[in-house]
Amino acid sequence: MRRWPPPSRDGALRGVRRTPHPHRAGALLGLLCVLTCATSAYGVQLGEKKDGQVMSGATLDVTQSLYYKYNVFLDENPSDDIPAPFPFSEFINRTQADLRIGPFTLGVQFDFAATSPTCSDARYAAKYADAYGADAACIHPNELRGSGWAERAPRNALAMLEKVYLKYQSKYFEAELGDFYVAVGRGVALAMVRQPNIDQDNSLFGGRFNVLTKPVDVTGFVGFTNPQEISMELRNQQIDSVERSLLAGGWVNVRPVKNLALSVHGVGYDLTELASGLVGGSVGVRNIGDAVDVFFEGNTFIYGQDPELDINLPPTGYGLYGTVTGYAGPLTMLFEFKRYKDAQLLRESGPVVPLQYNQPPSLEFEIAVTEDVNGSVISNDIIGGRLQGELFFLMTNTTITASVLGSVDQEAHPPFSRQGEFTLHPWARLDQSIHVGKTDLHLQGAVGYRHDFPFRLKPGPNVSDEERERLSTEFLRNASVLHWNIDIGVSVGIHSFEWVSYFRRYAFTLEEENCWRRRSGDETCDKDDGWIANENALSYTLMGKYTIALHLDFTDDPLVQSLGNSGAVGNLIYDPWFKSSAFIGAEIIAKPIPELELYLFGGSQKAGIVCTGGACRTVPAFTGVKSRVTVSF
């Protein structure tokens, strides 16, 4: 028997795929045609730049994005009596507008989301009753609530003014009121920025100012966290009210002499129930002997304490990060070092949502053994370093890169590591461009191997006998991943072809033999297990404007973030019973004019970074049909 916990009911979805309903497809086609035909807008110049006029030199930028998604679910187990969740449609509209008048910018982002069907739809209610019995209370396939809605949104539609801001900008002074982003240092202390590729957006709502002079910068900010509630990319599943927390802080950067930068910063916050804070600073020296750059940042975290509350926070923590970069001719060397000990802003039980508050450097060039960024990146007790060498020959357009990482992580990150581990990760890459006549060839290939040598954690005095027993039976002897990727692009005149492929082979050895059933149904007992993941994208681009791409992915990875519509990148669900799945999807991207982009995807899509049409983005898992029309004017 495999030993990890069973999957949650809503997470493990596999088996037979359902196809979209044709009548919905017709609606989508109609929508696309209407929007495509209606897009002839161009730049809006609200007035000539003349002194003394109210709207002098004003511009209005509007970006309108429409998304239609038809979500199709997979049957978790076709042989049982439980039907697959019913398919549903999502319609999302985002309007972003910036009005700029001289140094002032007034901006808004307005989102609208709606899903169908709902229980008020008689046909859906009847279908639900057929499947679950006439006495069963009808449940919406996708429920929207959102901030300000105590109950489900009426008609399952939600309109949100997500962002609003007023900015003043001059060469030496900037001020912002409303929503703004903030990143302190190298992200160890605080990083609240928009992640456009996964449409994760957690801003602060309040005020901020920046004073920008040659020798000194000063920044101060205060505001409440304001996470964006409606997502274009991720599934809007059961949007719920959000809690807002107060943050305040600032920094001073000083450049006393050329090539020397000093910085101090501080942040106070109430992300947990207890007010906490951090202070830190950095020093950077550039071009030492015209050959070396050095940077170091240190942070001390002070966590609020209240013995009456059941929050087990350490009193303090710290995060240290440093780099040394050396360069000589075609060679660039980079050494990174980190030590994080209880250096998280948000310390709570359960998974921490990544990319929300702080994003310290991970050292990893590739996301490796686990894509669980909660664990491998933001460990609470890790020390490590990475050395990278890079040779670049401009004449031949050749880049050879190699790196090796070593780290000791004392924190368990289930399900992949339930104990501390020592990690080694060598990695190498070749990047080559060749130009012959009208033909351009670009080749990039990389290969790496990471091995984790686990070691037992010392159970403290508070560990129960049951926990000691669990730790002893869930010990991994070692874990590894072999990974490679290749990217071949050929361009002949107006025609471009590209093949991008990623492969990862995960393997681990257990301390004790375990038994489980193979796909064939036979029972097997051994110490070894593993899985592979392979992603391929083949694309053709005409004139840099029209792209057709075919995606072929395969995985037997039990982390089912890659299955169905069950979640987002970073929102992982482990399914020990998952066997394998292939994903086939096709997409069309058309950018006939800069102001317009049409996008259509159909099929099944594995989560991960996808590069097609010359642009990269991280996509969530999805099965179904989705289209997007983005209009800027």
Binding site: T105, Q169, R186, A191, N197, L212, T325, S433, L600
Partner: protein
């Protein structure tokens, strides 16, 4: 499948029409003005776009260390900068996370980018003004009248020729 085939057909039919619309529109378009900004450079100092506008043609190249097309485009733009010299100023604006500054710096060294022309938009305040979706690579050409005469999302081999043409025409 019938749906996808139908949509594909619709796009193929619509594409030439839209392309013609673009050509027709080019002659009549009033180019929008570029927004000013101040960002820190890898060299450490704050750089204001307005310091370069007016006298030079400016190219903004938004990129990230994980973006393979961006790294393909980078040496092409370096050559362009060398070819045009002082007449043109290219800013390579990194939209990475602040935690990746060491990687940004190493890439800048690799391609020998001038440090004062590599700008750090780690809070994405500039890219969000120039392109709401903010996905690199994204290239903007600004003429001497401070107007955005070209905005291009994505990079495929050969795109640098289009950028080159726009820059040369703007000189």
């Amino acid at each position: 499948m019938r749906l996808i085939a139908t949509l594909f057909l619709a796009l193929l039919v619509a594409a030439p029409t839209l392309a013609v619309a673009e050509e027709a529109a080019e002659g009549a378009t009033t180019y929008p003005p570029a927004s000013d900004f101040t960002l820190p450079s890898l060299a450490g100092e704050n750089v204001a776009l307005s310091d370069s506008l007016g006298e030079k043609v400016v190219v903004l190249s938004f990129w990230a260390n994980w973006c393979a097309p961006c790294l393909k485009e980078m040496p092409k733009l370096v050559k362009m900068q060398e070819e045009f010299g002082d007449q043109v100023k290219i800013f390579w604006i990194s939209v990475d996370d602040s935690r990746d500054e060491a990687k940004v710096s190493a890439i800048a060294k690799r391609f020998k980018l001038p440090e004062d022309q590599v700008l750090k938009d780690f809070e994405r305040k500039v890219v969000s003004v120039y392109h709401k979706r903010g996905v690199p690579p994204f290239t903007v050409v600004i003429d001497k009248n401070s107007l955005k005469v070209m905005e291009k999302l994505g990079y495929t081999e050969g795109d640098e020729k289009k950028i080159h043409e726009k820059v040369a025409a703007a000189l």
